[in-house]
């Protein structure tokens, strides 16, 4: 059975702390981001405030980057020509506004051991505050369910998927929790419990929004992916420049040119891999890179 991946409800405060990607083996098998609480995310459903949006591409070939904020942090959204529906929607929406995003999990590893996660949207629609509040409540519930499952699993002598299913957890969650235990040595459960409580307080009438200027851990990470996008743009420009005959830019020359711009070879490899991944470039013949 070809089953559609479920859309996980997860706060940015949980999603962005993930540094584990489970790469699909084989052609069609999906990749997943495993969060510390055991969400096994290929697709996710997010509702928040679209705070800013920029086009890093051209008018004809836009590449959108946007930020969507929830009570716990910020989701990074990027969409290009392979996300026509989402790109079209992003071209129309004016920030700030409430949006709902259904999208795929993406990762970016500029260096070994560092993983940045973002969302590649399939659908973006404008919604109202009620829908955003509903999402927060639903996400609180599902985060708490994960937290409880993960805590219970870590208390087990030998945690298994079957044991968690017996306790009433869904199969998808049970599998995710097991994967999270393999990858994350320890999880600060209290931090996530506080996060849920804060998100709940956000929904209540007595809640008074406090002006908090202390940037969270997540927001510090913001600049990095931006910078990488910037570098990706520069590499794309190099490829364009070197591709004189329309048959692709020779790899050696790309390394040389990138070096002049201060991009090291290992970094360049990461960037081109990411561009290949995104479908922005391809390798027409071995040793040449070409824009799609």
């Amino acid at each position: 059975m070809i089953s559609r991946e479920i859309a996980w409800r997860v706060f940015s405060g949980e999603y962005n702390t993930s540094n584990c990607e489970l790469k699909g083996e084989g052609e069609r098998s999906p990749s997943y981001v495993i969060t510390p609480l055991g969400a096994m995310i290929n697709r996710l459903f997010v509702v928040g405030v679209l705070t800013d949006i920029e086009n890093l591409g051209t008018e004809g070939e836009p590449f959108w980057r946007a930020r969507v904020t929830d009570p716990t942090g910020t989701f990074f959204i990027s969409a290009g020509q392979y996300q026509p529906d989402a790109s079209l929607a992003l071209a129309k929406i004016k920030p700030p506004s409430f949006v709902a995003v259904v999208g795929k999990s993406r990762t970016y590893s500029p260096e070994e051991g560092t993983v940045y996660v973002s969302v590649r949207p399939e659908k973006i629609v404008e919604v109202d505050e009620k829908i955003r509040d509903y999402w927060i409540l639903e996400t609180c519930k599902s985060t708490l369910r994960r937290l409880t499952a993960a805590e219970e699993a870590r208390r087990m002598e030998t945690p298994t998927v079957e044991a968690l299913i017996k306790l009433g957890y869904s199969k998808a969650l049970a599998q995710g929790v097991l994967k999270s235990i393999e990858h994350y040595d320890s999880v600060e459960f209290e931090r996530y419990r506080d996060m849920i409580a804060d998100a709940l307080r956000y929904l209540l009438p007595e809640y008074e929004p406090e002006v908090q200027e202390t940037p969270s851990e997540m927001e510090i990470g913001v600049e990095e992916p931006d910078e990488n996008i910037d570098k990706e743009e520069r590499v794309l420009a190099i490829i364009d420049r070197l591709d004189k005959k329309g048959k692709g830019a020779p790899w050696d020359e790309i390394i040389e040119e990138a070096g002049k711009e201060g991009i090291r070879k290992d970094e360049l490899e990461e960037i081109t891999n990411s561009l290949l991944d995104k479908g922005l470039i391809y390798e027409p013949i071995l040793g040449k890179m070409k824009r799609i």
């Binding site: 070809i2 479920i6 919604v127 509903y134 419990r193 709940l200």
Partner: protein, 442 residues
């Protein structure tokens, strides 16, 4: 071979030749064949049967098996068993009423249900140990069932010779108690209590000829299920019954219960939810439906995460109602198509996914877009696809409650909605309740 052991063979021969000669006579003849001519037993038996005009091919091949070794297609098998239970019932065969015996046999290896078709020929009782020759098996609920037909010969043995496992027998005889929501394709010998909400008598053709069947819908507090009763149990609408010995077959993932003559159906006298309560769709999670495969008239809640192609303003062939492209019907060629509204929504609750098909009436009520308005807008925008976009903007990210029948195919679960609405929610009270619980956990 001692004379004693030949007895069943003599009986068998006698039966095959219709009692034309006395058993003493047969005994003597058989003795001659075996002792004087030293031919094998089977050959001897066949020769005698042939001689007196019987059919020699019916002679036992004498294959002895244990119950656990039985397949569902034994042609002729010998068994040494203990009679665990035996009951008599009258059945109608070709217009005449005949008594049959049914019950359970057991040996060391297991237990098996049986039917003996000519009750008058057999006189074994519960607790007897018997040796059966020339039984055959048929499949019943996927399991072998032993049949004693006109060739079968039964001989009583000393009770001490069969040790039956005490564990095996009750597990066979006892039905598994289940609620409607637990029913799953392939379940056997299920006991279920429910109220009959709908009832219909019909006659279906089977390989054994036309059979009357009572079918309908039975419900408990966990949901509804279709049933087929292959025997007249005197069922009435609104009756609450307990069925023991039903089995479950799936149809496109939807479990359905079947029970026949062998089932035990009794009227349930305890208190049970009223028909109007049971008539409401039963709430189920998508994951639950995924595990089971489907269900009828279930209520599911989730969020719309996608609107599939083929949603919005569509055109149908006026004759066959198929969706047409460019005014061309696959079956009827060039047609003047009729406009219609439809939604194929993907509903996701975070643990499972379901595609929901909504017809025009439901589409109009959930989106507030009428067919006329949709046509006007499509004309204005010169693009019929704009309606799908409108629907996406109206429904994506919205929590919905949908009810209908859910089936499963290779693409996953599919619901044909009978009702769909945007869900109502009270965020503050739920958030307060959850926060209180959470703070209690510190």
């Amino acid at each position: 071979m001692p004379m004693e052991d030949l007895k069943p063979h003599i009986k068998e021969i006698s039966q095959l030749i219709g009692g034309k000669v006395s058993e003493d006579e047969i005994s003597k003849e058989l003795d001659t064949y075996l002792k004087v001519y030293r031919v094998p037993l089977e050959t001897a038996k066949k020769s005698i049967v042939r001689k007196y005009g019987g059919n020699p091919s019916l002679v036992s091949r004498g294959q002895k098996k244990e119950i656990s070794e039985l397949t569902t297609n034994e042609q002729s098998v010998d068994l040494l068993v203990k009679v665990v239970s035996v009951n008599k019932r009258e059945v109608e065969v070709d217009g005449t009423i005949k008594p049959v015996l049914y019950g359970v046999f057991a040996d060391e290896s297991g237990a098996v249900p049986f039917t003996a078709w000519e009750a008058d020929r057999f006189d074994f009782k519960k607790g007897d140990v018997i040796f059966i020759r020339n039984a055959y098996t048929r499949e019943w609920n996927g399991q072998p069932q032993v049949n004693l037909g006109n060739r079968a010969v039964v001989e009583k043995k000393d009770s001490a010779t069969v040790e039956i496992s005490e564990v095996e027998v009750p597990s066979f005889a006892e039905s598994v108690q289940a609620k409607v929501s637990q029913l799953k394709d392939g379940m056997n010998n299920v006991a279920i209590t429910g109220r009959i909400l709908e009832l219909e008598m019909k006659v279906v053709s089977t390989p054994d000829g036309a059979k009357p069947v009572t079918s309908g819908i039975i419900a408990d507090e966990t949901g509804k299920v279709q049933f087929s009763a292959w025997h007249d149990f005197g069922l009435r609408e609104d009756m609450v019954i307990t069925i023991k010995g039903a089995y479950v077959k799936g149809w496109r993932g939807i479990p359905q219960i079947n029970f026949g003559q062998r089932a035990d159906v009794t009227e349930y006298k305890g208190s049970f939810p009223a028909a109007d309560v049971l008539a409401r769709p039963a709430k189920r999670t998508i994951e639950d439906l995924e595990k089971i495969g489907g269900g009828i008239d279930v209520l599911v809640s989730g969020v719309v995460v996608d609107i599939r192609e083929g949603s919005g303003l569509i055109l149908r062939c006026p004759k066959c109602k198929r969706v047409v492209q460019k005014n061309l019907c696959r079956l009827h060629g060039s047609v003047n198509p009729e406009p219609d509204l439809r939604i194929k929504a993907v509903v996701d609750d975070g643990e499972g996914v379901l595609t929901v098909i909504m017809n025009r009436t439901i589409t109009e009520s959930i989106t507030g877009i009428s067919l006329n308005n949709a046509m006007r807008r499509a004309k204005e925008m010169m693009n019929p696809l704009v309606i799908k976009e409108d629907i996406e903007n109206l429904l994506i990210a919205h929590p919905v409650e949908v009810s209908g029948n859910v089936t499963r195919d290779e693409f996953g679960l599919l619901m044909i909605a009978s009702d769909a609405r945007l869900a109502e929610f009270d965020i503050r009270s739920e958030a307060t309740e959850m926060l209180t619980k959470l703070e209690g956990m510190y």
